[in-house]
């Protein structure tokens, strides 16, 4: 098994208008995991994604898929795009057909599968994303969250190995966010997909991601598990990002208010454990004092 299914080595990319979007970016996407790419607006996340899928070709540097450098020939790109699917931020610019079914089939039809196979895959993708009941609806009648699911289904129908999502939670309300993130988690585990998520929604990362890259001005500036990355608040602030709110609270309590935690926490459940443990130890030491006093 190859550990990194996708790798970018030292990518540089400059747009026609002179904007340098990538400046020596290197990262690896672990097979079968969920990787987050965290960065502010304009950090270059979208450019990176378009490079992973061969839509943009880096000026220097190389992208490797399963250990092999990308083949930018017509055929090579066709194979790559079958395996690396991108779900874009704005579902409206991704859904174009009259009906949900038709839209989801778009990619599958383009890889010249026979009708039976296309139908099978589309039905499966609709099931996986929980939108089977929307099958015959016109796409413009859907809610925002439903549109995003249709967009995801359209990529899943191509049966990719890597699923790349640009800001999958943007524009969704809180319930929508957790639903879509749980859905991605499920799909990832069920199909053994590798998932890459670009986001600036810091609070979701500790909940749903295995590995995190922090991107700034076209480069990776921090990387590691969410715990490792959020253990470096200084580094995050330097690139205009912040800790998850829970992480921030725990940090302040520890540093300024004399709570002697022996760990950090970024999710509600982690923080809860930390505070509970701390409370227990306090209670114990109080008991200890009591016992000590009594004994004497």
């Amino acid at each position: 098994m190859i550990e990194n299914i996708l790798e970018a080595r030292n990518l540089y990319y400059t747009y026609n208008d002179g904007t340098q979007a990538l400046k020596g970016l290197t990262l690896g996407i672990k097979q079968g995991k969920t990787t987050a790419v965290l960065g502010g607006n304009g950090a270059g996340k979208s450019t990176l994604f378009l490079s992973l899928n061969g839509i943009l070709k880096p000026v220097t540097g190389e992208v490797f898929f399963k250990g092999l450098p990308l083949d930018y020939s017509r055929k090579g790109l066709k194979n790559l795009r079958k395996s690396v699917g991108i779900v874009f931020q704005d579902p409206d610019s991704q859904l174009f057909s009259a009906s949900v079914f038709q839209d989801i089939s778009f990619g599958a039809v383009n890889i010249k599968l026979n009708k039976e196979e296309v139908r099978k895959r589309v039905n499966m993708a609709m099931e996986q994303t929980g939108i089977t009941h929307l099958k015959d609806k016109p796409t413009h009648c859907l809610s925002f969250g439903q549109k995003r699911r249709v967009a995801i289904a359209g990529v899943l129908a191509m049966e990719p190995e890597v699923l790349v999502l640009d800001e999958p939670t943007a524009g969704l309300d809180p319930i929508g966010v957790s639903e879509i993130m749980k859905l991605l988690r499920e799909i990832q585990q069920e199909l053994g997909l590798s998932v890459v998520i670009a986001t600036h929604d810091i609070d979701i990362i500790p909940l749903y991601c295995d590995y995190t890259y922090v991107m700034n001005q076209g480069k990776i500036v921090l990387s590691g598990t969410p715990k490792e990355v959020f253990g470096q608040p200084g580094g995050l602030r330097k690139v205009n990002l912040r800790l998850p709110r829970i992480g921030h609270l725990i940090e302040i309590l520890k540093d300024k208010d004399g709570f002697a935690f022996n760990d950090t926490a970024n999710t509600i459940s982690e923080a809860r454990r930390l505070l509970r443990d701390w409370k227990t130890s306090q209670d114990k030491s109080a008991e200890g004092v009591l016992k000590h006093v009594r004994r004497n």
Partner: protein, 246 residues
């Protein structure tokens, strides 16, 4: 030997350049003599004034149509900037005349066409300011009128919608190039044979690319129109406000 080489060379030049002529079919800046620039400009003005009056009237009745027309203009511009895939692998462009005319009506298209042509000259260096009158006449007056007439006649004859759209777009496109060839031939009559010989030359050359292009434009316009009709029914209904006036 030399002759043969020239023959081959010119063939190579033709076939490398021709597939890219769709945009270049706007007569470039400085190509027409001043007299012709002015004449075509003067000939175009009444149509523009007519178009402006018609737009003003519609806007007075339905204030929303001003924004709609502006969107339509931008849409036609963007449409004409899209690359049209072709068999040879090279790219050409749509004119959008047929689609624009069917959706927004010929009078609106005249004014929108003028604006789009001006922006194409200023932003993309396709066409020119001195040749704006001539280009407007062929692309925004003759093209739309023919496209609209074709569309209406076939509709009136209860012909199929698809055929009406196809022919309107294809003929609108083709007529534009015929008109451009006429304009060029009038300005540059051949030494021997005069206007007719020159027209034959220009039409002959552009026919090579323009006939397949007109067919592509026709097919694509049908596809686009069907897609719009499939899930833009309300929009199409509202647009009748614009196109009924013509």
């Amino acid at each position: 030997m030399l002759k043969k080489r020239i023959w081959i060379l010119s063939l190579i030049v033709m076939f490398t350049l021709l597939p890219r002529t769709a945009f270049a079919m706007h007569i470039m800046e400085g190509f027409l003599p001043p007299g012709w620039c002015i004449s075509w400009g003067v000939l175009t003005i009444p149509f523009i004034i007519l178009g402006l009056f018609s737009i003003q009237k519609t806007v007075n009745e339905h204030p929303r149509t001003k924004m709609l027309l502006a969107m339509a203009g931008a849409f036609v511009f963007v449409l004409s900037a899209l690359k049209l895939p072709s068999v040879t692998g090279s790219c050409s462009h749509l004119t959008g005349i047929g689609l624009g005319t069917i959706l927004f009506g010929p009078t609106a298209m005249t004014v929108l066409g003028l604006i789009v042509l001006l922006f194409q000259a200023l932003l993309l260096a396709h066409g020119g300011i001195a040749t704006l009158g001539a280009n407007t006449f062929s692309m925004a007056v003759v093209g739309p009128i023919l496209a609209f007439a074709t569309y209406k006649i076939i509709k009136q004859a209860k012909g199929p919608q698809g055929l009406a759209v196809f022919l309107a777009a294809a003929l609108g496109d083709l007529m534009t190039y015929v008109m451009t060839s006429i304009q060029l031939a009038l300005a540059f009559p051949a030494e021997t044979g005069g206007f007719m010989a020159s027209l034959a030359k220009f039409m002959g050359i552009f026919a090579v690319t323009q006939i397949p292009l007109a067919i592509s434009e026709g097919i694509l316009t049908v596809l686009v129109f069907n897609a719009i009709a499939a899930y833009g029914k309300d929009e199409l209904q509202d647009l009748k406000i614009l196109s009924k006036e013509a």
